[in-house]
Symmetry: C2
C-alpha cells in the first residue's frame, strides 16, 4: 500500500470505497433481477437470477469486511443512493436488449473505476475487492446474448451502439460527481495516478493535480469501455 497519509485517513478512504462497492453490487442486484424478469427465455431468466444472487453474495462480503474494519456501510451508502438513482432515472432502458447493454456498460465502468481505487487500500481489502470485481460470468452472458442478437439484426446493432454511447456518457458523469463529492475516493485516485506517473516517467513527475489525475482516469475508463463495446461488435 502506497500512502503519504496517516493510517486513520487510509481507513476512512478504504471504508468510503467499500461503501461504494457494496452499494454498486446492491444496485447491480436490482438491475440483474429486472433483466431476469424480462428475459424472453426461461433458461435466461434462471441464468440472470443466478447472477443477481451472486451480486447479493458479493455485496455481503464487502459489508462483512466493512464491519471487520469497524465501519458501518449504511450511512455511507446513503450518499450514493441519490446519485445512482438519478442516473437510473436518466437512463431508463426501453427494452430487454437496452437493459442488458445498460447493465454491461455500467458494471464495466464502475468495476474498472473501483478496481483502480482498490489498488490503493490495505492488502486484505484489496484482495477481497479485486475478487468481487472480477466476475467474468456477468459480462459473458451479456456478450453472448448481445452478440447473437447483433448477428441477426443490423438495425438493432446501430441502435444499441447509440444507446451504449448515451449510457457511458452518463456513467462517466456519475464517476465525476462521485469524485467531486467524496474526497476519500479522490485521494485513492490521486495515489493511483502518482504511482502510475512515477512508473511511466521513471519517477519524474510527482504531486499531480486533481485535474491531471482525473484526465488520466477518464482516459483509462474510456479505453476499457471501447474495448468492451468492440467485443460486442459495437462502435463506442
Amino acid at each position: 500500500m502506497t500512502s503519504a497519509a496517516g493510517s486513520t485517513t487510509d481507513r476512512a478512504d478504504t471504508l468510503e470505497l467499500l461503501g461504494l462497492v457494496a452499494h454498486l453490487q446492491h444496485v447491480s442486484f436490482g438491475r440483474l433481477s429486472d433483466i431476469a424478469r424480462e428475459a424472453p427465455e426461461l433458461t435466461q431468466q434462471w441464468e440472470m437470477s443466478r447472477l443477481a444472487a451472486g451480486a447479493v453474495r458479493r455485496r455481503d462480503q464487502v459489508l462483512a469486511r466493512t464491519s471487520e474494519l469497524g465501519g458501518d456501510c449504511a450511512p455511507r451508502v446513503g450518499d450514493y443512493t441519490q446519485l445512482l438513482g438519478d442516473f437510473d432515472h436518466r437512463t431508463q432502458p426501453s427494452n430487454w436488449w437496452e437493459r442488458l447493454l445498460h447493465s454491461y456498460v455500467v458494471d464495466g465502468v464502475s468495476d474498472d473505476f473501483c478496481r483502480i481505487a482498490a489498488g490503493q487500500v490495505d492488502d486484505t481489502s484489496r484482495q477481497l475487492l479485486l475478487e468481487v470485481l472480477d466476475d467474468a460470468a456477468r459480462a459473458e452472458f451479456s456478450v453472448a446474448a448481445l452478440e447473437s442478437a447483433g448477428a441477426r439484426d443490423e438495425v438493432l446493432v446501430s441502435r444499441l451502439a447509440l444507446w451504449g454511447r448515451r449510457v457511458v456518457g452518463e456513467a462517466l458523469n456519475v464517476v465525476q460527481q462521485a469524485l467531486a463529492g467524496h474526497p476519500g475516493l479522490m485521494r485513492l485516485i490521486l495515489r493511483w495516478d502518482e504511482e502510475k506517473t512515477k512508473a511511466d516517467d521513471g519517477g519524474g513527475a510527482a504531486n499531480e493535480s486533481t485535474a491531471d489525475a482525473s484526465n488520466r482516469l477518464f482516459g483509462e475508463l474510456t479505453a476499457e469501455h471501447t474495448r468492451r463495446m468492440s467485443r460486442l461488435g459495437l462502435t463506442a
Copy 2:
C-alpha cells in the same frame, strides 16, 4: 412412499411436483426482489435481497434433483407460467405493505400445498423438498415488519386483513386450477388423502373421490392460512 401406481408413474408425478416447486421458487425470487426494491429502509432492502438469493439457491437445488431423475424442468414449468402470471396480474399489490403480505400469503399457501404433495414422492426428493419448503427466514421477516406496522396503524391492519382475504381466495383458486390441469399433482393429493383417511378412520375408508380429497386439502390449506394470519394479528 405409499403408492398403488407403478414406478414410472411415480417418477412422472415426482417430476411434475419438482417442476412446480422450482417455478414457485423462481416466482418467489421475482416477488422478493420487488419487495427488496421498494423496501423503505436500506437494511430491509439488504435483508429481502438475501431472501431473494435464497429462492434462487433453492430453485437450483430442485432443478438439480430433476436432472438427477433424468427430467427437464423447462417444459413443465412453462405450463405454470400462464397460471401464475394471471394470478399476479389479478393480485397487484398497491403498496409495499400489500406486497409484503402478498408474498407471505402466497408463499404460505403454496409451501403448504407442496409440502403435502411432497409426502408422496421418493425419499430423496421428499427430503430435499421438505428442506426447500421449510424456510422460516422468509416468513419471519414479513411477520416482524407487518406486526410492527400493525401496532402503529389500525386502518392499515383492517385494510391488510381485507387484502389478505382477497389474495388467499385467488391463491386457492390457482391451486384448484393447477390440480385440474395436472393429473400428476392430483394423484399425489389423492394418495395423501388416502393415507390420512386410513389413519383417521383406522383403515376404514379407502378409494376416496377426487372431490372429497380436494375438500380435505382446501380445509387444511385454509386452516394453516388462518393460523398464519393470526400470527400477524389479522383476521383471515
